[in-house]
């Protein structure tokens, strides 16, 4: 807004169109409005603060200080000695344990030995070690772990801890979430436990869910929108689909336990989980797909019919291609819900401890939320850090999926 300046020497110009009293009333009205605007903003601040607190808490829980008395070499290696980690660090560690070069090559070239070494040791780039910062540490599951401190707790008394170290003891700042966490199977020892089996299980389940729920959901939506007669029965189905979307997920778990695990005898397998979760997300998929189909303007349908298209030609060449963005978004959001679903899977037998990759739809499995839940339930304080690392992985995957849905909507959405 530009202000009008008075010519010099003139009387000050009036700035109000109202009388004194009415003006005061207007000011009061505006103040009330401002107060309400401020009140509506409070929940937003509260929500943002809560989310930030959650993230900070989980992230700091993935760090801990540990006083360790190593069982093997107990040496740390500079990052520059083996910039890519992996086998190079393994060689350094084995030679520090006193093995000869030929013995080391024998271990590395034997796959069985390699697997055993990897199952028992975790190669980590630790932020802080006794020998300096950013060094490779090979943590052995048989190391004696003497003391454990949370990130802030250990930070406060670091000087005392460092002074109290006995001979051969080390103190490390352990980042529980590193790349090897994603590539390790689960283990009874927190330091070598990884989330690989759970990620694989989740991928299997999600893949099968898409396979089941996409054709069923889109088919049902197409039928209800394009083919079904508009009568009481159709309306009854519509209302019930909306109701089903609100049924608690544990109820679907009970249904899955009875129907798929017991009656159809699928057992506690990936197939049972995928079918049960498909049922769980189907109502949401149908609702989203129907809305996408309904958003295709009827003028396009009429144009197609007017050119002599049959119903199926119109549906397949005009309606579906123009609804595909909305349908995809709905599927992605539903899948994100299925990935985070825990309760029904506990009922239908996701396993807490699976140290191997699933081999097919009929193998036993675990998924990420179940894995996190079982880690938290463990009686070892270090598993709490492992669970935090798992939560970060799960949240990251969900964030990526929501980002993908947002991108798809932005990229392919059309305004008519």
């Amino acid at each position: 807004m530009s202000t009008v300046s008075n010519p010099p020497g003139s009387a000050p110009r009036k700035t109000s169109l109202l009388g004194e009293q009415e003006r005061a009333r207007l000011q009061r009205r505006k103040r009330v409005g401002q107060a309400f605007a401020a009140i509506t903003f409070i929940p937003v601040i509260l929500a943002i603060a809560l989310i930030l607190t959650l993230f900070a808490d989980v992230i700091f829980d993935t760090l801990s200080w540990q006083v360790v008395e190593p069982n093997n070499s107990g040496q740390t290696f500079a990052w520059s000695e083996a910039p890519l980690g992996g086998l190079a660090v393994m060689r350094l560690e084995l030679s520090a344990q006193g093995l000869s070069d030929s013995d080391i090559e024998a271990i590395i070239s034997d796959p069985a030995e390699l697997t055993r070494f990897r199952a028992r040791n975790r190669i980590e780039l630790m932020w802080h070690t006794d020998d300096g910062s950013m060094r490779w540490v090979v943590t052995n599951s048989r190391d004696d772990r003497l003391d454990y401190y949370g990130f802030f707790e250990g930070f406060g008394q670091f000087d005392r801890l460092a002074a109290d170290l006995g001979p051969d003891q080390n103190i490390y700042l352990n980042p529980w979430l590193d790349f090897s966490f994603l590539t390790r199977n689960n283990s009874r020892t927190p330091v070598v436990a990884g989330i690989k089996t759970a990620i694989a299980g989740s991928l299997w389940v999600v893949g099968l869910i898409i396979l089941f729920a996409l054709p069923l959901g889109v088919g049902a939506a197409l039928y209800l929108e394009e083919y079904a007669p508009k009568n009481t029965f159709t309306r009854f189905i519509e209302v019930n689909i909306r109701n089903l979307a609100g049924v608690p997920s544990i109820v679907y778990g009970i249904l899955g336990l009875y129907l798929f695990v017991r009656l159809l005898n699928f057992g506690p397998t990936i197939l049972s989980a995928a079918v049960t979760l498909s049922l769980l997300i189907l109502p949401v998929v149908i609702i989203a797909a129907r809305e996408a189909i309904r958003a295709v303007p009827s003028s396009l349908r009429e144009a197609s019919y007017g050119l002599g298209a049959t119903k199926w030609q119109t549906v397949s060449q005009v309606v579906l291609p123009n609804a595909v963005a909305g349908i995809t978004t709905g599927i992605i959001l539903s899948v994100a819900r299925a990935i985070g679903e825990t309760a029904p899977l506990l009922l239908i037998g996701a396993a807490a401890f699976i140290p191997f990759l699933p081999e097919g739809p009929l193998s036993r499995y675990t998924v990420m939320p179940i894995q996190i839940y079982s880690w938290i339930a463990e009686n070892d304080v270090e598993f709490y850090n492992v669970a935090s690392a798992g939560i970060i992985v799960l949240l990251t995957i969900l964030l990526l999926l929501y980002g993908l849905a947002f991108f798809v909507r932005r990229r392919f959405e059309r305004n008519w």
Partner: protein, 282 residues
Amino acid sequence: MTTTSKQDPKRDSNPIHNFNYDHETVRTDAQSGDDVAVGVENFNLWYGDFQALHHVSLTFPKNQVTALIGASGCGKTTLLRSINRMNDLIPIVKIDGEISYEGVNIYDRNVDPVEVRRRIGMVFQKPNPFPKSIFDNVAYGPRLHGYDGDLKDLVERSLQKAALWDEVKDKIKQSGLGLSGGQQQRLCIARAMATEPDVILMDEPTSALDPMATDRIEELIHEIKKDYTVIIVTHNMQQAGRVSDRTAFMHLGVLIEEGPTDQIFTNPKHDMTERYVSGRFG
């Protein structure tokens, strides 16, 4: 609408307010039967309980432009959409009577509406190109029917007939939605012509366009009538006067008067037609 107000005798005598649904259509000339493209015979149509068309009888001669005029809600669009059975898409529509095309009653139980629309094309009020390329828009109809000739040639010919080819020949692969409103409407006309129909129905094709674009569409209608029978619904009486050979005036679902356009506009026989074309109501 059949008000019988006692206070206003002038209003009572006004046929617009005291309407006779059994009105017999005034026909300005006798139509010979042999050059008829589409014949409507005692056609009634209901939306649920509401009767939208009352015993309409009308013939549309071949290779002529017939304009349907009348106030909003008079049933002219409903009549137009009945001619290629677009009203079948509305579940609550019931019909009675006959519409014949080349001697076939298109509402016969054994006639497939898809066949009807194949021969009787339609252009809508609002330009509605598909969100596809210009080429794919025009090729949509021929592809539906399994056209086995040279598709590129057919698309080019259709666009040329719609006087759009010169403007779009360099961007034939671009989206049809990128064109201006008038170009989009000509694209829709090209699309309708690409299926090689005999009759083209136009539902207020210029109501969403500016005067320049309207002028081009009207020129186009003049051009294409040597190949097609055109039936056009319009709100614009000047337009009806400019483009049509014959005009039919409807009111409240009843066909009031029909005849050669110059007759209807200069020497209407029915009082209500005279009031409408002179702009005293509607």
